[in-house]
């Protein structure tokens, strides 16, 4: 050991960088160690997390380097045995923490390209049948069966078809797409290449939001490095321009075509008339990233995980005011309370959990009384909530739900594409009405107005932005009426004091 250089593994995921991983890596190099930059394990509260011979050292700073190398720093033990990791069922995130993201060698050594090789020996129909058998549903939030979408594109006749990966991960509380792009980019590329074989498309696009510069850089490099492996399929990386609504599939297609990111009315479905009017598979990144595993192991093996009509695993993102935040992939069926309290450890602030917003800015606020809910599309829908992209944002008891309801509407107003009236005007009018409620004016009457407005937005909007903004608003009012009615002005000033 003494003569050999120690191998120190540190993530180069954006989250680790944001917590100073580069400086720590430089300090290890200076101390004579060989540093390997790997993907993140997803235990975000421990970043920068150092791994030496399988053993982890959390929250490392440059000043800790000597002690870590000497073995005298406190460790978390073997990372793989840490309960947060050991209890997960990682299919999509099987490589997280273990490989160098851009190393083709690491990728191939960990089962990379097996799915693509298998798919090349299969008929297009057989690939689609495997995906159908897996029960995989769109991970962007809508939960539409991926196999059926693919079949529609496969059966469409056209001189050109496209595969589009929606990597416009704009929902607050979500980061799984980013982690795949930065940590395991070839897996996504492999999934897209398999989709190409399944439907007869030779060109793919990955549309990444501009707020993810590290993911963009990694994906660009990855696409270049493996071009020869996926040929004749080819992939182009496209960068969004700061419009949340482009995460909506038809807006995204417009944006790829060089247009304003305005929503298109459906039908026609993108599967029939998508990008440049051609049949297009447009899937969320996590949907496509699940494909290599499904083809390698078979659809049934994937479907063996999960509950009800929610098959397989879901990479849950535990975020917000939570003690142990990070990426937690598990079979559908785990309860929300298990995720927030047992795995997430409750709030980071140490105060009681008040609620969690599940599914991003368009998802409902779920009160602790409903934390028994299992992670399942239908179970959430039954109580007017949604899983969305499986982000959980935890709030403690200091949250002002009237302000959060106002923010949901403000966000919708800021990000509305302007095409349909319920969303464009409803959101702005909603902010005005919420301001009246917060000021304590005509509260009952104004709450009635909000309810009316929510109904109009929910049923009259063209896409999920206007259509789902009522979910956070109405759930906040329904479960936390005390924050809207008889707002206590003393509590108000206390809050102001706390946050000042």
């Amino acid at each position: 050991m003494s003569t050999e250089k120690r191998i120190v593994r540190i993530s180069d995921d954006a989250l680790a960088l944001a917590l100073g991983a580069d400086k720590v890596a430089a300090a290890f190099e200076k101390a004579g160690a060989t540093v390997q930059r790997v993907s993140s394990w997803g235990m975000h509260w421990l970043e920068p997390l150092i791994e030496i011979d399988g053993v982890g050292y959390g929250n490392a700073a440059p000043g800790d380097v000597a002690a870590i190398l000497a073995g005298s720093a406190p460790s978390i033990g073997r990372i793989e045995d840490h309960p947060f990791i050991a209890e997960q069922q990682r299919l999509t995130f099987a490589r997280a923490g273990k490989t160098r993201p851009l190393s083709l060698e690491d990728y191939a050594a960990t089962g990379g390209w097996i799915g693509l090789d298998k798919a090349r020996a299969m008929s297009a129909q057989a690939i689609v049948e495997e995906v159908k058998a897996s029960g995989l549903r769109g991970r962007g939030g809508a939960g539409f069966p991926a196999g059926i979408k693919w079949d529609t594109v496969r059966n469409a006749r056209a001189d050109q078809k496209y595969i589009v990966c929606n990597a416009d991960e704009g929902d607050s509380g979500t980061f799984a797409d980013r982690m795949v792009m930065e940590g395991d980019p070839y897996m996504l590329i492999e999934g897209m290449a398999i989709a190409g074989l399944a439907v007869g498309a030779d060109k793919g696009y990955v549309y990444i939001r501009s707020e993810y510069p590290h993911a963009i850089a990694k994906m660009r490099a990855a696409v270049k490095h493996c071009a020869h492996i996926i040929a004749p399929f080819s992939i182009e990386i496209r960068v969004g321009a700061g419009a949340y609504v482009c995460g909506e599939e038809t807006s995204l297609l417009n944006s790829l075509e060089g247009r304003r990111g305005e929503v298109r009315a459906k039908p026609p479905l993108p599967a029939i008339k998508g990008l440049f009017g051609k049949p297009t598979v447009i899937n969320n990144l996590l949907t496509l990233a699940a494909i290599p595993w499904i083809i390698e192991h078979g659809g049934q093996a994937y479907a063996d995980y999960g509950m009800g009509r929610s098959r397989g695993t879901i990479p849950v993102q535990i975020a917000g005011n939570v003690k142990y935040g990070g990426l937690y992939e598990t079979a559908f069926g785990i309860s929300l309370g298990d995720l927030v309290n047992r795995i997430g450890g409750g709030t980071a602030s140490g105060r009681p959990v008040r609620c969690a917003q599940v599914g991003g800015p368009l998802g409902a606020y779920v009160p602790v009384e409903q934390f028994h809910l299992p992670f399942d599309y239908e179970a959430f829908a039954a109580v007017d909530a949604l899983i969305g992209h499986a982000g959980i944002t935890v709030f403690d008891d200091s949250v002002d739900m009237a302000q959060m309801a106002r923010f949901a509407l403000e966000f919708c107003a800021a990000e509305s594409c302007g095409k349909c009236t319920p969303c464009r005007l409803g959101s702005t009018r909603g902010v005005e009405v919420m301001d009246q409620i917060i000021a304590g004016r005509d509260v009952e009457k104004n709450l009635g107005l909000i309810e009316d407005l929510s109904d109009t937005m929910k049923y009259g909007s063209l896409c999920a932005l206007g259509g789902f903004t009522p979910y956070p608003v109405m759930s906040a009012i329904k479960y936390f009426p005390e924050d809207f009615k008889n707002r206590d002005l003393t509590r108000e000033s206390e809050r102001a004091g706390e946050h000042a």
Partner: protein, 146 residues
């Protein structure tokens, strides 16, 4: 600052001869924005001609997206996330002091989500990301950017 000359070259760089020419409009605009810091009226005119679009169409795209600006930004910017997960972790409490410290020197821009939602509040300067912001850390970022 003039943007002429360079534009034609940027347009050519983005044509692959397979997909319709206008499909490259966003990548072209990104390159122009990165190179010149804004997208001038003259550039809009030139792009419209090069891609066989109307000026209104190009202007419509430039004005739709938050990342494109028709005028150069007068101040350096810090993008501070103020979406739900960062709110849950206390970003709002940082804002008043940060805005006071930045006044006239740095623009505190609001962004909605940098994907660092388990370790917020977070911010981005250029393409550098920063998380677990405290008043001191954010202040240091402001001083650095100013």
């Amino acid at each position: 600052m003039t943007q002429e000359g360079g534009i034609a070259e940027i347009v050519v760089r983005h044509q692959d001869g397979k997909t319709p020419a206008r499909g490259a409009l966003l990548p072209i605009l990104h390159d122009i924005q990165a190179e010149y810091g804004h997208i001038s009226e003259e550039t809009v005119r030139e792009l419209a001609a090069a891609l066989n679009l109307t000026r209104a169409e190009v202007h419509g795209v430039v004005s739709f997206y938050h990342d494109f600006h028709s005028k150069p930004a007068p101040l350096p910017a810090i993008k501070l996330c103020r979406a739900e997960a960062c709110k849950a972790r206390g970003v709002e409490a940082l804002v008043p002091d940060a805005e006071r410290a930045a006044a006239g020197r740095v623009k505190i821009e609001t962004v909605y989500c940098l994907g660092l939602c388990s370790v917020g509040p977070s911010a981005m300067v250029g393409s550098d990301v920063h998380a677990a912001l405290t008043p001191e850390k954010l202040n240091a970022l402001i001083e650095e950017a100013a």
